[in-house]
């Protein structure tokens, strides 16, 4: 697999690239996020763990304002997402301004969400040409390079429905990357995949991490967390329950919730293979 | 023109009792009809010839009464079926009904498919809005340039079309004909000036003018023939015999003055004839 070339990023400043401050989010009466604080620095790979329903996806979706926070704020590249600081107050932005902000983050969903009516290449060209108004000619070259780097150059002109799940997810990653985001968000990118297909997607993500991309990854793949993450965040009951390098959080968890969770993941693998 | 008396509300017919059966006439009937004892007669609502009393009850109208009285002479009961006008002749063709009534004009097209026993003559007339400058139409060119309304399947629709064609061939202003499904829709279109004049039979026109209380007035038609109207009979093996029986019965109604009385009472005395004819004339 070729190197994912143009997604190189800086870590030459100490400001966090994503800063989550006292984030709260309720759905009706149900408070999913109670108070989340998190800093992610350029080039970092952060893996989020937590039980189903602990609010991992909600937090991720607040980062690019797919969910509107009930309180607190998210800053990406130093800008408050979804608001403008005017005087002492945060004024809600117009939809168009929010759309512009979203272009700086890339997101990969559990269910791939490729556009089924567009070919693979068209999926990649759509956003850069329309949102960033870049020339299709130039973008096409970059898109083809990215497709090559995820190993799917020969699938450029087919429709997504003809691809395997693993291939679709790799296209989804390329589609996010062609926008040159400063941070990539992954929401359980491999859990809709057949076990055999998980490897090929994780490989692309590892390559991306190696190239220096800032990544926030919600996943159940402990192996990936251990091998690639700089930081593992364990969420429980709408808060960050535990946080630290994988060696600490995975192999030597302190919080009771973390221990229970890791045990439940472990139970079914009685013994390791070979 | 003189307007007909409004129909007695809920009443069955004129005050006259139904004439009693005439045994010589009964003998003229074809056996099949005589045995059945009932005649199924189609009619479209066409005031004042055919009227459905509001609130229910038996149909009335001058043509209904004439049919009923002629049938009574023949010892027949009549079962009236009220249907749309454009379904009348096709219904006879399809043998759904034995006969049809309701001021049905005798026209060449119709006599090809049904047989008439005439009992009345009418002259078409225009209905125009009360404030219309046109009050009489004395010659064909008076009609040119108008939008004429008529109801679907009526002979007036054909007459209006031929008037329009004549205007065109004689170089008059262009004339159009709009055919609506019922006379009520023709009248409604007229009341809103969507058409300039509506062509209808004289009695229908008079009735309409009377009913709409000053909205319309009558436009006398100074040209065109008198049109015979009558009972239409479905064509089949028994038609010739049945027609003769009805012709005889109608002639008796004329002779006894019943016909004139009915027309006086229900049609302002318009259109009485002195003898009934069969059209097309029987071959023997």
């Amino acid at each position: 697999m070729a190197t994912i070339a143009h997604t190189e990023h800086v870590r030459d400043q100490s400001d966090p690239i994503v800063k989550i401050v006292e984030l709260r989010k309720s759905f009706g009466d149900f408070e999913v996020l109670k108070s989340v604080n998190l800093d992610v620095y350029p080039g970092q790979v952060v893996v989020i763990l937590g039980r189903s329903g602990s609010g991992k996806s909600t937090m991720l979706r607040c980062i690019n304002h797919l969910e509107k926070p009930s309180g607190g704020a998210v800053l990406v590249n130093g800008e408050v997402v979804g608001y403008r600081l005017k005087g002492e107050k945060l004024h809600e932005l117009r939809p168009n301004e929010i759309a512009r902000q979203r272009a700086t983050t890339g997101m990969v969903f559990q269910s791939f969400n490729l556009f089924p009516h567009l070919t693979v290449l068209e999926n990649l060209l759509e956003a850069p040409c329309r949102v960033l108004r870049r020339s299709p000619h130039e973008v096409r070259d970059e898109a083809m390079k990215l497709l090559t780097s995820v190993g799917l150059a020969e699938k450029a002109n087919v429709y997504p429905s003809t691809l395997s799940g693993g291939q679709q997810q790799r296209v989804a990653i390329a589609r996010a990357l062609v926008m040159k985001p400063s941070v990539m968000l992954f929401d359980e990118p491999t859990s809709a995949l057949d076990p055999e297909l998980v490897g090929e997607v994780l490989e692309v993500m590892k390559e991306l991490a190696r190239s220096g991309m800032t990544m926030i990854v919600v996943t159940h793949e402990i192996g990936f967390a251990r091998g690639v993450a700089d930081e593992v965040v364990f969420m429980a009951e709408g808060r960050v329950a535990e946080q630290g390098p994988p060696s600490q959080v995975i192999d030597n968890p302190q919080a009771e919730a973390t221990k229970t969770f890791l045990r439940s993941l472990n139970e079914r693998r009685d013994t390791p293979v070979q | 023109g003189s307007s007909p008396q409004a129909q007695p509300a809920g009443g069955t017919s004129s005050a006259d009792a139904t004439p009693s059966t005439d045994s010589t006439l009964v003998k003229m009937l074809p056996a099949s009809i005589r045995d059945k004892g009932t005649l199924t007669v189609a009619a479209a609502v066409y005031a004042p010839a055919v009227m459905q009393p509001s609130g229910g009850g038996e149909v009335t109208g001058w043509d209904i009464e004439l049919t009923r009285k002629a049938a009574a002479l023949l010892g027949l009961k009549v079962d009236f079926k009220i249907i749309p006008f454009d379904g009348v002749i096709p219904g006879l063709q399809a043998a759904r009904y034995d006969a049809a009534t309701g001021e049905i004009n005798v026209t060449p097209d119709r006599t090809k498919v049904v047989t008439f026993v005439t009992n009345h003559v009418s002259k078409d007339a225009f209905i125009v809005k009360a404030d219309s400058p046109k009050a009489s139409f004395d010659k064909p060119s008076d009609v040119c340039g108008l939008k004429i309304g008529a109801s679907l399947g009526s002979s007036e629709a054909a007459t209006a079309q031929s008037m329009a064609d004549e205007c065109k061939s004689s170089g008059g202003a262009s004339t159009t004909v709009e055919t609506f499904q019922t006379q009520a829709q023709v009248n409604l279109a007229l009341s809103q000036s969507r058409v300039d004049a509506a062509l209808a039979s004289g009695s229908q026109a008079a009735y309409t003018v009377d009913q709409t209380k000053g909205q319309f007035k009558l436009g006398k038609l100074g040209f065109g023939p008198e049109i015979k109207t009558g009972l239409a009979l479905a064509n089949n093996a028994d038609t010739a015999q049945l027609a003769k029986a009805f012709q005889a019965a109608t002639n008796k109604l004329i002779k006894d003055g019943v016909l004139a009385k009915v027309l006086d009472q229900l049609n302002g005395g318009l259109g009485a004839v002195d003898k009934s004819e069969i059209v097309p004339a029987p071959s023997s």
């Binding site: 969910e67 600081l85 945060l90 400063s182 190696r210 190239s211 700089d230 | 009227m51 019922t182």
Partner: protein
């Protein structure tokens, strides 16, 4: 691990990071404070304008003499109108019932393995969906002009076994009911077929794996689930039938509309009578719609996310409830089968 990251290149500044980093230095309190929501001016203006139009319309309806409200009132419960309404309802109920039964048969033919049945059902649908109901009614009514006798007998001119005069067999009501039912059955067939196809094949397999035979699986598993898809459009068809049944006036069956027409043909009170008729149609369709919603709710039982009224901004907004992808597989991957 960190060493791998060290080789990243420092030149490239994030391309979309436009504004200053001022917010980063803002104190936490500011960020956690209440926010100022965006106002939607365009929407408000449109709403006010529409309200004005509606109010003006209502005002003019009450004050305009031309509506002849006293006449409307006079005819509202008129015996002939009531009788016509009754006939319209009978027509709707009976012919819809016949159409549903026929439709199920036709759908079964279309889905059967038998090529002949498929073709015949296809031709039937083609004809009855391809011509106006009006023509079909006139045809059927005048069938005796084509075939004076109807009967069952030996084909190709052989002797008739049982039969009768077409006009006796096809009485006025028979023509109306059969005509409406034949036409409608072509539409019902497609609805039923769609409903049956919408039940995931998984369900048939699960039933079969439990040892159910075809009839059991169809009656207990497939049909009840298909009904969820069949009922809403069938409700629409019933409402449609209520209205299109007025076409039977062409064969002189005095339904609601024709009863009114018979009155106004004579009295020329066209507009008030049409208002009366509209009132009854609206009332019936509204009641039917309420019924439809209740029945839909009944057949929707056990299916998550049934709410039929979509909430605020479901399409273009992003704030709607999400559903888990994985745990609902059973009932929804469904649509693939």
């Amino acid at each position: 691990m960190e060493s791998a990251k060290a080789k990243t290149h420092p030149q490239h500044t994030p391309s979309n990071a436009v504004s200053a980093t001022s917010a980063l230095t803002a104190d936490q309190e500011t960020l956690a404070r209440e926010t100022v929501p965006l106002r939607h001016h365009g929407r408000t203006v449109a709403a006010v304008f529409l309200l004005l139009v509606v109010a003006n319309l209502a005002h003019s309806m009450v004050t305009n003499q031309n509506f002849q409200w006293p006449t409307v009132w006079h005819y509202l419960f008129f015996p002939e109108i009531m009788a016509g309404l009754g006939r319209t309802l009978i027509l709707t109920v009976v012919s819809m019932t016949m159409a549903i039964v026929l439709g199920i048969l036709l759908a079964a033919c279309r889905l059967s393995g038998n090529k002949v049945l498929q073709a015949v059902a296809g031709a039937y649908l083609w004809f009855f969906r391809g011509t106006p109901l009006l023509i079909q009614l006139i045809f059927l009514y005048n069938l005796s002009a084509l075939y004076p006798r109807l009967g069952i007998g030996v084909p190709f001119g052989g002797p008739e076994l049982i039969g009768g005069s077409t006009n006796l067999v096809l009485s006025l009501w028979t023509v109306a009911l059969v005509g409406l039912a034949l036409h409608e059955s072509a539409y019902m067939a497609e609805i039923v077929r769609g409903g049956l196809l919408s039940v995931p094949k998984h369900q048939t397999e699960a039933a079969a794996a439990l040892g159910m035979n075809n009839v059991m699986a169809f009656g207990r598993i497939i049909l009840p689930q298909a009904l969820r898809v069949i009922v809403p459009p069938t409700g629409n068809q019933v409402i449609g039938m209520l209205k299109y049944s007025s076409l039977v006036s062409v064969i002189a069956l005095p339904d609601l509309l024709y009863s009114a027409q018979m009155i106004y043909t004579q009295t020329f009170e066209t507009i008030p009578l049409l208002i009366v008729v509209s009132f009854w149609y609206l009332l019936c369709t509204s009641i039917l719609t309420l019924f439809q919603q209740r029945i839909e709710r009944y057949y929707g039982r056990g299916v998550a996310g049934q709410s039929t009224t979509p909430g605020r901004g479901r399409i273009l907004g992003l704030g709607m409830p999400r559903k888990r992808v994985r745990t609902t597989l059973s009932s929804t991957t469904a649509e693939e089968g």
